[in-house]
């Protein structure tokens, strides 16, 4: 079974530039998460989708971050414009259900460096 796929794996951009990350979850998983992980920290939830609907985006900085999950499968996370403080690893995860008793399956992440 294929795992969660993310691309790109690495991205280096200048500040104020836009950037987008793509995620393909495990087939059949209705719940999709985007996390940000800073160095030496645990993942922090940015947004959670149930199918196409964003059910928790309270931690997403909406002035510069946006996300979409068209057709309830793939998802894209965008930052525009990027700031130096956005340098981090962006992780996508999926699970069969959205309750906390479901294990989450993580992708390898996209390491973003903003110069």
């Amino acid at each position: 079974e294929a795992g969660v796929v993310q691309s790109p794996r690495y991205k280096i951009i200048e500040k104020k530039q836009p950037v987008a990350f793509w995620c393909n979850p495990i087939s059949g998983h209705n719940t999709l998460y985007w996390y940000r992980q800073n160095l030496g920290q645990g993942p922090e939830l940015l947004i959670r989708y149930e199918n196409e609907e964003a059910v928790d985006d309270s931690q997403l900085p909406k002035d510069r971050f946006s996300a979409e999950r068209l057709k309830g499968v793939d998802s894209t996370l965008k930052i525009q414009p990027a700031e130096l403080g956005d340098s981090a690893v962006y992780l996508c995860a999926s699970s069969p259900g959205g309750t906390p008793d479901n294990e989450q399956f993580f992708g390898p992440g996209t390491r973003l460096t903003v110069l």
């Binding site: 030496g40 920290q41 309270s58 294990e103 989450q104 390898p108």
Partner: protein, 113 residues
């Protein structure tokens, strides 16, 4: 304020010994607690889930305990091997209607041969 604390210092142990990692939390009342393993450059991998009404859960060489009175979970790896070297993250459910997991900062375990 709400906090999840894991040993910030790396844990170094000798191969064959039991590793014990701690996860303490304050101002949460989680119904579930999960443990994940993360290797450098990779995403976390799920290991075990324990419910609030379970005192202990085992899976092969892994054991997790959950003490809701002490607000603490302990994660044990018996007969540790160098391949167990990684960062271990605990995560607990935020509770309420949000259904989201809150992760600790992780503990780096190094098993020396």
């Amino acid at each position: 304020s709400q906090k999840i604390e894991q040993n910030s210092e790396a844990l170094n142990i000798q191969e064959g010994k039991t590793a014990t990692l701690t996860c303490n939390y304050t101002n949460y009342s989680p119904a579930y607690l999960q443990w994940y393993r993360q290797d450098p450059g990779r995403g976390p991998v799920f290991l075990l889930l324990i419910r609030e009404n379970e005192k202990e859960k085992r899976k092969e060489r892994l054991k997790v305990t959950f003490d809701t009175t002490l607000k603490q979970s302990l994660f044990h790896i018996t007969a540790s091997q160098p391949a167990d070297s990684a960062t271990y993250l605990c995560a607990l459910d935020h509770g309420g209607a949000t259904n989201k997991l809150i992760f600790g900062t992780g503990t780096l375990l190094a098993v020396q041969p």
